[in-house]
Every structure is written in C-alpha cells, then in structure tokens.
Amino acid sequence: MKNRVLFKGLVVIFSTLILLAACANKEASTGDKVEILNASYDPTRELYDEFNKEFAAYWQTEKGQKVVIKQSHGGSGSQARSVIDGLDADVVTLALAYDIDAIAEKKLIDEGWINRLEHNSAPYTSTIVFLVRKGNPKGIKDWDDLAKADVSVITPNPKASGGARWNYLAAWGYALEKFGGDNTKAKEFISSIYKNVEVLDSGARGSTTTFVEKGIGDVLITWENEALLALKEMKKNEFEVVAPSISILAEPSVAVVDKNVDRKGTREAAEAYLQFLYTDIGQEIAAKNYYRPRAEEIAAKYNSQFPEIKLFTIDEKFGSWQEAQETHFSDGGVFDSIYEQ
C-alpha cells in the first residue's frame, strides 16, 4: 500500500521511456519508399537542401520509388565521430578526406573509398580565399600581406576544426612555392601569419561571426564558398573577396557508408545519390551554391563567379592527408611548435 505512489511514479516513467523509444524507432526502407541519411558538414546546408529535392524527383521518375533524404549538419570532425559512434548515416559528405578515412579505419567504409568515385570522390571543390573589409583598407592582395606586422588575421584553430586545416595548408603551400620548398622558411612565414591571428575560433562559422558580426580583424581566411555566400547573404556592401595568387584545391569528399547501407538495404539509392552529384544537374546546384563544379561545361558557365587562382592539391605539396596531419597537426607537430616559446 505504502509503495503505491512510488509504483505509479515508476509506471509513468517507464511508459514515457517506451514512448520515447517508439518515437526514435522509425521503420527502415520498404519496397516503395527508401530513406537516406546524409551526414554533412555545416556550409553545405543550402547546397543539399536544393540537391535533395532534385534527387528525390529524379529517383521518383527513374525508379518509381519515393526517397526521403534526411540531412544532418555539424562540424566535419564531429559528424565523422557521430557516424563512428553509430549514427545511421547512409552517405557522408564531409569537409576533408581525413575525416572519412577515420570512419574507414573503423571498418564502416571499405578501404579505397576515395577511388570509388571520380575526382578523388570529391564531386565539387572549393579553395581558400580572403574576405576583407570594404575598400580593402590594409591593401591585402596575397598571402605575404597577411604576414605583415600591422594586419590582424582571423582564422579558426586548425586543430579544433577540420575545415580550418585547408586554410593553414593553403598558406603553407604558398610559402613552399615562394621559398623554393624550404620548410624552415615556410615555417617562419606561417608563424608570422599566425602571430597576427587575434582570435582562433573553434570552427569556421565561428570565425565568420567574429569577422563579420563582431567586426574584429582586417582579413578573414575562409573557404571561397563561405566568402561568396557571406557576400550574398550578409551585409553585401561591407566586404570584398580577395583571391590570392596561389591557393589549395579544397576537395570535400563524399562516400557511401558501406556497413550502414548494407544493413539497411539502401545501397542502391545511396550510391545513385552520390553519382547524381556528378551529373549536370548536381554540378549546377553545386555551382549555384558557390562550390566549384568539376564538369567543365558547368564550370565555364559559372566562370565569372570564381576568380582565377593557381591551385595545388594536397597530394602535390604534402604527399597525402595522413602525412599532412602527422607532420602539422599531431600533438607536438609543426602547428603546436608555432606557439611554443
């Protein structure tokens, strides 16, 4: 008798839990309907909003099957960790191959994933450019200007943000070119750039906020698609994009998560989804969202949007992501040593 209240309380709690569980447990794919989860990083939100609608329409006419695409966005590294920890993503579309490698290391994606699709499994690319304040008061034209003493630079922490590693590597690649491959001089150059960094945000969007909303810094090192989007969406007349002479070809990679699609039986749709990124429709959507398309015709059409920059790939200058990661961003690596006295 005495325990009746307690018992009732427990019944309520457990039935709540069961209800919650029931909410979470959605049915998997059936014959006439398939559901795909795309785990992506932050700045692709607008791109995939548009792309998913197009793909759903295409799949309906092609296969007569309804496809529902769910999107999940977050920092590239934390998205990769979610997938490793059991997020049921069918495809991952992340900021850098290194993050997908980390998933592959846990055997969720087959080895050699990067060669499964054309162009290193990167259907669209971008590069690293500068965003400066209207009229470019500090006269910033190239990487050299970022190393000058009176310039305040904003860029995220490359160890805390995957996307920010491209920024760092772009500067490093320029320095290698400038000093004829001399690593010591390149390091000095990078040091003087990072000495000018007033705020190392923990992510790319954080840096954009610091620069655009809080008005801190003379120049923001950022992805080209982010810079162009910022120009379009934010205070259009207050900023300008400056293209450096040399920069890195940023290749955001995509892959099917083999373990998940095989378990859920969604492989066919998931593979078609990624393939569709390479079609003219997919390429055009990427270009409209300020990513550089791979298809030459589409690239030609959007030519005026993208300044001409001499681009190098990570493999050309650093061997591979794994090597770049090991040398520059591991604990006690080059980036750490910049900050040691």
């Binding site: 920092g75 590294g77 934390s78 922490n157 160890k159 943000s161 923990s202 954080g206 809080k214 900050y339």
Partner: protein, 276 residues
C-alpha cells in the same frame, strides 16, 4: 536477526532506485572515461596530461572558474539580500531574470558577451580606453563564467535568507549590537553553508563550461585555451584516449575540490555558529 524498523517506509525500494538511477546516468558513464583513458598506458597518459599546453589550459580553467565563483559568491549574496530584504517595483521581474542564464543556450550568451566586451563593443570600448582588454583574455573567460554561475549562488542563498528570523536581529539590536556585528555574528554564519554550496556549484559548472567560453576566449594556445577546448581538440583528431585522459584529470581534481568545499561547509555549520 530482527529487521530494524525504520521511521520512513520504503527504504529498500527507494534506495534501490537511487542506486540504479545513479549508476545508469552518472557512475557508468563516468567510469567509461576511466576505461577509455586506460587504453593509453601510464607513460602516454602522463605525457598527455602533463604536456605544457594542457597544463596551461588546466590553469586557465581552474583559475577563471575559481575567480568567477568568488565574484559570484560576493555579488550573489548581495543580490539575494536585496531580493529578500527589500521590496521595490519590478522585484518579481528581477527575481525571474536571475534564472535566465540557466535557460539560455550558453553559445548565445558567449556571443552576446563577446560582442559587448570586444574592444569596439558597447561596454568593451570604455575598458579599452583605459587599456583593459576583456574579450579574448582570461578576464573575458571569467566574465562568461560569472554569467552562467550567478544563479547557483543566488538560488542557494535566497531561501536561507528568507528563513532567517528577524526577531533574532531585533533582539541583538536591542542588546546593543551594531549593524556590522549583526551581519558578522548572526546573518553571515547562518548563510555561510549555503553560500559555500552555491560557490562550489558555480565553480564546478565553470570548470566544465564550453559553449559560452569558446566564443569569448579567443582560444589562443598557451594564453586562453581552456581544458574543455583541449578535449574537443583531441576529439577532432579522433584521439579518444587522449581526450579522456584530460577529462580524467579534470574529474579527479574537481572531485577533490568539491569534497574539500563540502568539508568546509560541514565544518562551518558546526563551528562558526558556536564561535565564542
């Protein structure tokens, strides 16, 4: 052996539920941290947790959390005092405002504070005029922690102040005690245990805070990196073991701090009251 009769019924069941609940939501998750970090082995563990940058991050975290809790202790007491002892228009509203830092997503708080206290910000410009930088320095971190920690102190102290009997103060006053004496000898000893509890909650909350601090800290290595950011950095490199190693140290040190404060609290309850 005869079963001991307890005054309160249902001890067995409620204790069982307590243990289960604590295990599922606190003990097992926390022990995962120890298990994960044990993958490192002692030598590597020691190397990770004593590296120069990590040690500096601990210092920043503990010092700023302590400073913020201290400020909150003083001003939280004052605010609670004002809310309990005086009546003024808008009192209810201010009372409600105290809880807002609990409800607000901390990232929002961080961004708002950074903007206000940046060197061209509304408030920051006055400080930068006299040469004090707030955003992107440890002062800024402390400020963010003060913001999120304030409700703990106010809400702990408030009920105790409300429960104080005015008659005691009046009696003291009629016996010739000065206002200072009344505060020192009657009010403060009563409030002290609650104040310490509020302080320790604010301190603990400050140690773990990430969301608001990353925006205002500037995250410069060896300058304004906090320990939770070091953990995130390790995770970003898929170094789970390294991340949990830092967490283990945080956990152990905070646990020691909290136990110590708890002890202080018990001690003050017993001794300060019986002084003289």
């Amino acid at each position: 052996m005869k079963k001991k009769k307890n005054v309160l019924p249902g001890f067995g069941l409620s204790m069982g539920i307590t243990t289960l609940y604590l295990s599922l939501f606190i003990l097992i998750p926390l022990s995962m941290i120890f298990i994960e970090s044990s993958k490192l082995g002692w030598v590597d563990f020691w190397k990770v947790v004593t590296s120069e940058r990590v040690v500096h991050a601990y210092k920043i975290s503990f010092i700023t959390a302590f400073a913020a809790a201290l400020f909150n202790g003083v001003f939280g007491l004052l605010i609670a005092w004002v809310l309990v002892r005086y009546s003024f228009p808008g009192k209810r509203l201010i009372d409600g405002l105290i809880d807002l830092p609990f409800a607000l997503p901390t990232a929002v708080a961080g961004i708002a504070l950074t903007t206000l206290y940046a060197k061209d910000g509304w408030i920051g410009q006055w400080f930068s005029a006299i040469g004090i930088k707030i955003s992107f320095t440890p002062i800024g971190i402390t400020l963010a922690l003060m913001f999120i920690g304030l409700p703990f102190v106010v809400r702990m102290v408030q009920p105790v102040l409300e429960g104080l009997e005015r008659e005691v103060e009046e009696a003291a006053s009629s016996l010739g005690a000065t206002k200072g004496q009344i505060f020192r000898k009657i009010i403060f000893p009563e409030v002290l245990p609650a104040l310490l509890a509020g302080f320790s909650l604010a301190f603990a909350r400050g140690l773990g805070e990430y969301g608001s601090v990353v925006f205002i800290a500037g995250n410069m290595p060896m300058k304004t990196e906090i320990a939770p950011l070091m953990i995130m950095t390790k995770l970003e490199q898929f170094d789970y073991a390294g991340a949990t190693a830092i967490a283990v140290v945080m956990l152990v040190v905070s646990f020691i701090c909290l136990i110590f404060i708890n002890f202080l609290q018990k001690w003050s309850q017993k001794h300060v009251l019986q002084e003289e």
